[in-house]
Each structure stands twice: as C-alpha cells, then as structure tokens.
C-alpha cells in the first residue's frame, strides 16, 4: 500500500523542439491538499494531462495511487479531474451532462442530483449547459470531478469565474474532502487561496520544478521582512543607514523601508530609531506570503 498519491520521476514532454515539461520529479502524499503553481505556460496542464493518461510522456515515469501512468485504466476510476476548465455538451442540461459521465463511469445515478445539490446547482440542473454562467459551469465541472467519490481529485483552476462567496465555498469543499482522506491536487492563479488551503506546494517554472514540499518548509526558506514607516520621509534614508550598519539589507519601497531581518530585530530597530530622533509611524514584521515567494522563486517580478 503506497502512501503517495502522485509520484513523478524524470517526467518530460517535448512538443517539436520545445520541452513543455522538463525532467520533473515530485511526490504528493496521500490525504493532503497540494497546490500546483507556476506562471502561464509553465507546464502545469501538460503535467496534469500526462498524469491522467491523456498525453504520452516523452521520458520518465509517474505513478498515481501506486499505479503506473502507462495504465490509466488501473487508477482513473478512483480519480476525479477537471482540467482546462469545464467542458460539457452545450445542448444538454447540467443533469444530463453528469448522467452521461455517470453512465460512462458506471457510477450510481443517484449521485448526480446529490452532487448538483452539493455544488449549489440543485435547482438549475435541468437548464441547458449553454445557459450557465461561467461560475455555474465551473461548479458543474467540480461536480463531474466528484462523481467517482475520488481518492485523488485533480483540479485545474477550479475557482475561475467564481464570485468571492463561491471561492470560499470551493475552498471549504476542498478542505472537507482532504479531511475525509481525499488527496486534492489543485492548480490556481489565486495564490492567496492556495496558501490558505494547501499543506503542500509543487512549483513549476518553464517546465522545471522550482520547489516541491510542505508549504511551511517553503515559507521557512524565505527571509522575513520588517517594514518601517516614518512620519518624516527624509528619515527613511536614515533608517536604511541604521539597518545597513547592523548588517541587514534594506530598501525604500512605497514610502516605507523594507528590511530583510528576523522579527526579533524589530525592537532593536525601534530603540535605535528613537535614539536617532526618528519617530516611527509603523514597524511591522512581515513573513513572506506565497505570492511573494512565488514571484521571487519563479523570477516573474
């Protein structure tokens, strides 16, 4: 019995001369929420497609729930997925669309209405898919992914088009699923959302893995910042000087000084500024968030 939901080794996909995914290695443990992040075109969807048996890898191996990705028939009955947005038949209702997939997968048809209720489409199930808003289409896609009562759920940008309330509902749903033992592998450009729900992060850049591991480990690798603001703008330069003298790199950004230093240096700075006759209007230690870390690691900003 394996304890990894996804295991990937030296996996690559080459289109013509371009490596869309380049020799990636990572593992995702069972029963967690794993965020899958990377800039557009970094290879997230290609990786997901390889894991689902939709495209053939150029090199490498992968295992899903302990089964090799060369044999998707051995694991897909336990996997739910929505990739590259919801795709359904426009002329069929939401209910009929799910029935097609329920019949195809041999799942109990009673689940269709239950899932429509679960994603908040219970009263719109009989409407044609083409009449749905983007948010409703997204909810139907999530319902379709949940049809097999999956051990592993792979979602590509599931909160696209959802309003804040919908995003919160999806976040709660994914957390609940993980609490019930489902492994959730989710990509999103809303990094703040992923930061809240993810236990694990896999970060891609230009087809290569930048980081794969627990989110706490990623954050611990990042240096904390102290943000200092003064009533007098001229004092900002003096704060930089005080910081640099103490061996901490500091820059002025947006009318405040950003100092790379541990949190416990903040009181030291406060005292030094007071002794130098500087009145601080704000002194805030700040841990880097996923978004900042992402930009730093992927070099996008």
């Amino acid at each position: 019995m394996t304890n990894t939901a996804i295991s990937v080794s030296d996996l690559s996909k080459k289109y013509d001369d371009r490596l869309a995914v380049s020799h990636i290695n990572f593992e995702v443990p069972l029963g967690i929420v794993c965020g899958f992040v990377g800039p557009n075109g970094s290879g997230k969807t290609t990786t997901m497609r390889m894991l689902l048996g939709l495209i053939t890898p150029t090199t490498g191996q992968g295992h899903i729930l302990g089964e090799p990705i060369e044999h998707p028939e051995k694991y897909l009955s336990r996997v739910g997925a929505m990739i590259e947005g919801p795709a359904f038949y426009p002329a069929l209702s939401g209910y009929e669309n799910l029935m097609v997939l329920a019949k195809l997968g041999g799942f109990p048809v009673e689940r269709v209405q239950q899932l429509l209720d679960k994603v908040g489409l219970g009263d719109r199930g009989k409407s044609k898919f083409k009449t749905y808003s983007l948010g409703m289409k997204q909810r139907l896609g999530i319902a379709a992914a949940l049809l097999p009562d999956p051990k592993l759920l792979m979602l590509d940008e599931p909160t696209n088009g959802l309003d804040p309330e919908g995003i919160q509902e999806v976040r709660a749903l994914l957390r609940d699923l993980a609490n019930d033992g489902t492994t959730v592998f989710v990509s999103s450009h809303l990094l703040s959302e992923l930061e809240i729900i993810s236990d694990y992060i896999v970060m891609l850049r230009k087809g290569e893995i930048v980081f794969a591991g627990p989110i706490g480990e990623l954050m611990a690798q990042q240096q904390p910042t102290i943000i200092a603001k003064s009533l007098n703008e001229a004092d900002l330069v003096r704060i930089v000087e005080i910081s640099e003298r103490a061996g901490h790199h500091a820059v002025i950004r947006d009318d405040s000084v950003h100092i790379l230093a541990e949190m416990d240096w903040a009181p030291v700075l406060n005292r030094a500024a007071f002794e130098a006759g500087i009145t601080l209007a704000q002194l805030a230690p700040q841990l880097p968030n996923l978004e900042e870390t992402f930009f730093e690691m992927t070099g996008d900003k």
Partner: protein, 263 residues
C-alpha cells in the same frame, strides 16, 4: 463498453437531434418514394439521375422497396452527418478528455460510440422502411401499379434483403463520417468535406469518366443500398466499398488511440 453505449445513447436521444434527424429521413423518404409513383409517366424519368422505373418493375415482388432502396443514399448522407458530428464534437467541445478520464480504453470509447450510433441509424432506417413501403402501397393504385406480389414470400424476402442492403450502406456511410470526424476533429469540416465529396465531386468525376463509378467510395455505397446497379454489380460494390471503409476505419482508429488529447 456497454457503459459507453448507454452514455452515448443519452446524447443521441436529445429531442432536437433525434426528431430532427428522423424528420429529415422521413422527408427524403416521402419525397423520393412519392416521386417514383407520381412521376411514373414523366418523360424526365421518376428515378435517380433521370432513370425510369416503370410499372413492370414496380409490380414485381420487389416493387414495394424500390423507393426505399432509392432513398438509401440519402439516408447514408444523413448518417454520415450524424456520425461525423457526434465524433468531431468531442474535440471541439473539449469533452473527449472527460470521456477518456472516465473510460481510458480508447477503443472501447470508439466501439461504444459506433454501436450507439449504429442503433440510432437502425431506428432511422426501420422507420424509413415502414414509411416508404406504406407510401408505395398507398400511391400504387393511383399509379396503376399492381401490388399483388408485394406481400408474398418473395415480396417479404425482397423487403428483408433491401433492408439489409440499405443498413450496410447507411452504416458504411456512417463509418465514413466517423473517420472524417476523427481525422478533421471539427464537425463543420468533416460534414462539409463528406457531403461535398459525395454529392458533388463524385458526380462530377463520374460525369467526366463514367468508368470511375466502379471505384469511387460513395458510388459503391449507393450501389450496395440499391442491391447493385446495371453497370456496377453488388459484389464489386461490396468489395470495393468494404476496402475503403475498412482502411479508413483502421487508420482513424490508430490515430485515435495514439494521438495526444491536448485540447
């Protein structure tokens, strides 16, 4: 594969598609069958390409299914459109990835789709057969066609063999549609190419050189529906048409199984 058939039938039973297709089939069946009897004395002929189907032919035991055999080609074109659209739409809607996630056996998907569409075609053919024979029986007295031999043992045998021939032809047209859908991955392109080729290009080619009729795919399938033509035997049409359909189906199946699903 049974699950694939059940899933596909849910798509095919959509009222607009089902009644629209059956409606088209009935329209062509009614029109072509009626022409045979209403224009029986017309100097322009009452059959395909100005052919004359006289009383002496219609009074035979096989007379009841002359209209049905003539409409076989049109039913085939309807089947080609339905099979092509139902196959290619999976690419344009991006729904193929959903199907393959729920059923990764690609040949199972392909066979399941084929069986469900074949069942759909059988319903269409059966209704068309009843309607054509019914219209023929109603219009025969007015056209002074004797129907005494139509419902004898030989008559029923002729109805059965024509039904089988039309079914082979329509299903073969459908496979051509499926092949075009898989190759072109767009319903509009697949249907346009298929219909233009069968209705215009082949007729032009045959008009330029009549001997090409023995080798062009659409002509073979039409000849099968009619049980063979004067200048194109049933056996030859079955063999050449079978080769076209088999080669196309094999190439399209290999592509479907091996091609990445990247949309």
């Amino acid at each position: 594969m049974f699950n694939v058939v059940k899933a596909e039938l849910r798509k095919l039973r959509r009222p607009t598609l089902f009644f629209g297709t059956i409606g088209s089939a009935l329209f062509f069946t009614g029109l072509i069958t009626s022409f045979i009897y209403l224009m029986i004395d017309s100097p322009q002929g009452n059959g395909d390409r100005g052919r004359t189907i006289g009383r002496e032919v219609l009074t035979l035991a096989s007379g009841s299914v002359n209209g049905f055999a003539s409409v076989g080609g049109f039913l085939g074109i309807i089947a080609l459109c339905v099979f092509a659209a139902q196959t290619a739409q999976e690419y344009t809607y991006g729904t193929l990835r959903n199907l393959l996630i729920r059923q990764p056996g690609r040949m199972k998907i392909l066979f399941g789709k084929f069986i469900s569409m074949m069942l759909f075609a059988l319903v269409m053919i059966t209704i068309a057969a009843f309607v054509s024979v019914g219209i023929s029986y109603m219009l025969a007295p007015g056209a002074e066609v004797n129907t005494d031999l139509w419902f004898t043992t030989d008559g029923f045998q002729a109805i059965f063999s024509t039904y089988i021939n039309v079914t082979i032809s329509v299903v073969a047209f459908g496979i051509v549609g499926m092949v075009l859908g898989l190759l072109m991955r767009s319903p509009i392109s697949a249907i346009s190419f298929g219909v233009l080729w069968l209705l215009i290009v082949e007729n032009l080619l045959i008009a330029v050189k009549s001997s090409w009729q023995s080798w062009l795919p659409g002509a073979q399938l039409n000849a099968i529906a009619s049980g063979g033509l004067v200048d194109l035997t049933y056996k030859h049409a079955l063999a050449v048409g079978g080769i076209y359909v088999s080669v196309g189906a094999i190439i399209a199946s290999i592509l479907f199984v091996r091609r990445d699903v990247a949309n």
